[in-house]
Symmetry: C2
Subunit: 353 residues, 2 copies
Amino acid sequence: MTDPCPTGHADAADGELPGSVAVVGAGVIGAAWAARWALCGVDVEVYDPLPTASRQVESTLEAARAAWERLGLLSRETGERSERAHAVALGEVILTSEVGDAVIDAVLIHECVPERVKIKQAVYAEVEAAAAPDAVIASSTSGIRPSELQAEMQHPERLVVGHPFNPVYLLPLVEVVGGSQTSELTIERAMGWFNAAGMAPLRVRSEVDGFVADRLLEALWREALWLVHDGVATVAEIDDAMRLGFGLRWAQMGVFQTYATAGGEGGFRHFIEHFGPALQQPWTKLTDVPELTPEFIATLITQSDEQSGDQPVAELCAARDRNLVDLLLALEANDWGAGRSLAALRRRMSAAG
Amino acid sequence: MTDPCPTGHADAADGELPGSVAVVGAGVIGAAWAARWALCGVDVEVYDPLPTASRQVESTLEAARAAWERLGLLSRETGERSERAHAVALGEVILTSEVGDAVIDAVLIHECVPERVKIKQAVYAEVEAAAAPDAVIASSTSGIRPSELQAEMQHPERLVVGHPFNPVYLLPLVEVVGGSQTSELTIERAMGWFNAAGMAPLRVRSEVDGFVADRLLEALWREALWLVHDGVATVAEIDDAMRLGFGLRWAQMGVFQTYATAGGEGGFRHFIEHFGPALQQPWTKLTDVPELTPEFIATLITQSDEQSGDQPVAELCAARDRNLVDLLLALEANDWGAGRSLAALRRRMSAAG
């Protein structure tokens, strides 16, 4: 019988960990990459010119550690890995004041700087001046095509997109996208390392703007913005529609497998033949992008603040992580979806201990 | 301090149950409405002309009962409510061979027939010929405007949309939408009954095609179809991108609250100012609808079957329900989102017992 949940990653976490990792840009994503590697026992050097970087890295490490403790991957008392897991020490995270110092010894370098091609290309020039010629540079871009990113590099074959999802230390998905000059070896090395970190690399087979995930994310996000813009729903109502309804389906089955359960005994065939035509109805044609005027931005921010109250963002993130940990544990117990990536990581850490 | 998860339904389940309910159309949705009411102790009369209806109703009742047992709302041994819950018997579900027989005693009538205005209007004429004049008729339509549905009714003031989400016996969301002729009393009665059934009614403040949820669903679904159509990703890869990544965020926080955690210490303001402009980039403009040619439909079905294997749909639905139950229990333990609706239902059943 075919596996009903064919996540291509059930046997993930069987690659080798990278010897050492560098992170350039310690914002929300960069700091969380550093945390995931450190929790896996890999040393990480981090470069970021902002004075807030060290606070970001420290608070992210703390949050990641708490989450892994609740997952049972670290012992709660010592912050070291529990005996059920393995005994290798946590990796060290060191902030450096020069890009060159951060990348010089790294075999894997995460670029996590703002989403502008020129800024990223300038960073690659700095990185290449100091890094080993075969170090892999993985861009965390959400949607810029790697062919564009690598266009001016000395060693373009080592540039790959490794697009993770916040919080990087908990969500297994990482999109792996090669550009026209990316070598197959680079892609294989990156996939192996991500596997070893307990992630589920999804190799994107065709190089398009936005890859797979952000295509889907942006489509929904655009529609959500219109609903607020037109006064059809508030920010909180839209979030309720998701977290009390279809979001719970997507978390375990995505959209197609959900619809395979929606057609009754006829399955997906019945569904698509029956409901496909609804797409032609007017409610799906509102597809321009609303203009982000100062007034509209103010509305969004007001409604967002109303929803989350005067909670500091850190508390909201902590609530998110608590929920994610428990959703992952529930799915692990059912041998399903993201729970399988967690199970694979747990096996890997036990084997290493 | 404001509640960070302001689901407007934390105190749900405080309404009165309806005396008796009718369901017209016993497909996936109609049968699941019947199951939810029966599990709440309400008798349900069901009309459907198809010979498969009784099998659909029976198998749905069985699945719903198994799910409520795992939620701890029914005792596992007897199928009756556990002592922790309450002792009222399950409601009876009776199939009738005439619409009139089904609706004559009902105070709430769910219309769950195909999504065509003419079919629904013909059903309303039959229903109104037999039902009490003040019985509420709740359409399960996913997106047809109630003003259109009620246009030819004798008592249009009692027509309201009550749009639930599959599986109706597990997901708390139900969109409540009134048309131009719907009375406020009708909306209040429907909201109260849905609350009493442990659901989280979301009153949609503006009558638009597709309401709130299907606007969002269709936007993502359309983009997903394009990705398959253009060979960028397969059905399974798209589902993986959701269930291993952002689906887990949306299940607990929706889209806006998720983004409030993505901007670092700057919160939602930082996020929207920083990432809003990406919407203008070309990857969000692929917004036409792909033509559902026989070839494209065949591709979708083949990939969907490959993903879910030779699993009967019933097994896939059982896996979905197991996962949903455990996700709901995990969120209940964290007093968050859909878990709060479950907690409210549990309190209600304890109080009634």
